[in-house]
Point group: C2
Chain length 415, copies 2
């Protein structure tokens, strides 16, 4: 029996659709999906082959989780179980059953990041006293993203909490590259021409107004490929969280690191030292010879060679759960502290460094910005509402500013 495969696209191509006056955020184009499907398919394949070949690996995965994408697809006339794609199977499962611990990890992760997004947004709204703007582009056919941003609030100058759920197809070159880190990506020696994949993640960044309150970033993601028979192929988790203060408060640094260490230790005593080091190495502004902030944890490619899927998911949940209580406690201590004009200026300079890291060194951001049609506003929700660059600015010796720089040049062990 003939059936049409869904046409799924990892990276939405806005240029051609722009002529049909589609709105990125609200997906007004549903009615014209059908007739666009074959064009969309060709165009998507070309782009994914070019870009995934060039950048695949960590960068792509990070982006998938860090920024939402639009999906454009044709609706199949009939479903044939034997030829169902990954997304069709998942849609069917979601229609027919509640998500439980027995559901595929894809659906459990999707459910989890959605719940966490709500929780975190509420927790931040409670601190700020004002509401997030919510941009959702969920599709009844499956997949989508939600970007929540609070801008110019009472406490937060900019806070973004985004989730994305992506179904796509890895081209051969991407499979070959990814195989270096994941031996079980393909059964046997023969590499298929493409491989369906799924990625879901939650990404967050908060820039408070008060220079005494630290900026924070967090990202947790899950990636999985599908075997031709529809069962799960390779999979892994990635993520982490890091703090970027303008002024060092030992109490905050210790609390932030301790909450992450506790979450790590409950699962594996080796995690924290390994992931803390990884974080210091990754969030490093090498052209300035200084770290972006005081770190936290960072990890990628956590698969069955590290720990089984259930236990890794439990670790991810624990780490994410620990975020909101810890960060809101830190912000509540700092948000009403007095500060001078010079301290506000220092915050602006530090934000400039944050922008430098994100635009120059962050692989996910760079991949996203070089990908045609990516939702730029979601990728760049990480950038502060205000930032500055002062030529040859040097903190005075022994000042609180100099003490921060000292720590950024020589990362400390906080717990």
């Amino acid at each position: 029996m003939a059936s049409r495969r869904l046409v799924f696209r990892l990276l939405a191509q806005h240029k051609p659709l722009g002529q049909l006056s589609c709105n990125q955020a609200t997906n007004r184009c549903r009615s014209s999906q059908r007739r666009l499907s074959s064009f969309a398919h060709t165009s998507a394949s070309q782009h994914s082959s070019t870009f995934l070949t060039k950048y695949f690996g960590w960068a792509a995965l990070s982006l998938l989780a860090a920024s939402p994408f639009l999906y454009k697809m044709a609706i199949p006339d009939k479903l044939n179980l034997d030829s169902l794609s990954l997304v069709e199977r998942d849609q069917q499962t979601k229609r027919e059953n509640a998500i439980t611990d027995a559901s595929p990890m894809r659906l459990r992760m999707e459910k989890f990041v959605k719940e966490k997004q709500k929780e975190i947004v509420q927790a931040l709204e409670a601190v700020d006293g004002s509401k997030f703007q919510v941009d959702e582009w969920q599709r009844k056919e499956g997949g989508g993203g939600i970007t929540c941003v609070l801008q110019d609030g009472n406490v937060f100058e900019k806070a973004g909490v985004g989730i994305s759920v992506v179904y796509g197809s890895l081209p051969k070159a991407g499979i070959m590259k990814m195989r270096a880190n994941h031996k079980n990506l393909v059964d046997g020696e023969k590499i298929p021409d493409s491989l369906e994949f799924f990625a879901a993640g939650l990404s967050l960044i908060v820039h408070p107004k008060n220079p005494m309150a630290p900026t924070v970033h967090l990202n947790y993601r899950y990636f999985e490929t599908a075997k031709p028979d529809g069962t799960s192929g390779a999979w892994w988790f990635g993520g982490g969280s890091d703090l970027t203060p303008n002024y060092i408060f030992g109490e905050d640094a210790v609390q932030f690191h301790k909450s992450l260490k506790d979450a790590c230790d409950r699962h594996n005593k080796g995690y924290y030292p390994r992931f803390k080091k990884w974080c210091d190495e990754y969030f490093y502004n090498k052209h300035r010879n200084e770290s972006r902030g005081i770190g936290g944890i960072f990890f990628d490619d956590l698969d069955e060679t590290v720990q089984d899927k259930e236990n890794l998911f439990a670790f991810i949940k624990d780490s994410l759960d620990s975020f909101a209580p810890t960060y809101t406690a830190i912000v509540n201590r700092r948000k009403d502290m007095p500060f001078t004009e010079e301290e506000k200026e220092w915050q602006q300079i530090r934000r400039g460094r944050y922008v430098e890291f994100n635009l120059v060194h962050d692989r996910g951001t760079s991949f996203g910005l070089n990908t045609p049609g990516a939702r730029v506003e979601s990728i760049l929700m990480s950038l502060p509402l205000t930032a500055g660059w002062k030529y040859m600015h040097e903190p005075k010796p022994d000042s609180r500013e100099a003490k921060l720089v000292e720590v950024l040049k020589h990362p400390k062990e906080w717990v």
Copy 2:
């Protein structure tokens, strides 16, 4: 007779020298140069081989001119004319003769950009009413840079005018890559292991305070290699200038483009259309699908296949000469115009886009920031004192802001 070759370094290695508490801006390390020379040589060769191999071509050349570097070298005991390096020859020439039209182009270009820097700094100071900070690291042995910055002035929020004069050595991989654009880089088929080169340029960026006054950027540079006998090998000029307004004033756009077109037309009627198009293509924020500004001219690799050296130098001089009178006239018209808080906010958003271009797409900046030991403060003098990012900001239809965006999406012919 034995003589020691000068140890010259394109890229200063600050990390090892940092232990000797050298100050980047003031070169306190002269006395310890000698004993460091052999280490410096090894380290420099390693880095130049890695980085030049990876990035060579336009990017490297642009950087050389766009940002000053430190030089560290050993002083030779005696000079032997037969084995003099390019810099030694030039030093000798400068000691013995005044620079005239008969001098090598290297020395004429160096003299010219130094004179122009002074002139432009004075012209901008006259508009602003305050003085530039001047950081000079000229060495009596040859080569160096001068970075002039005016920050938080009366009219200008940040203005940077920098010159640099670089002597260095191209590794084999760099020669091979560069040869694609410059067939006469090497005589015959045998590619030497290294090739001495010279680069000099002037680079400028001005961000005015008043949102009605446009940001401007300019960069003119000359590159040359030396044959083993010390005579000039391959050479070429590059450069251009472009305007980035927050609000379109037709009068300003026309005046800016006309002054460039006039300079071009005096030398070759084909220059302006070709270089205007090149500018629109280069200064393009492709992740935003919009130009950085309203363009100007941009060119590179102008060598004997385009025009003879004398005539190209005359064109460069003409273009640079036209800058100060044109830009100061534009700024004088705009600097005292009234503006609203919303217009100031729009300026901040446009500056955010400027930062995005410079950090994400500009090849010279990217090369510089990925080069260990480069003088970051000079490379990033281009970034504004203040900038901002507002999530999902869209200008109101038919507003003056929307009119700017329309032009950025569809570059106009102004003259």
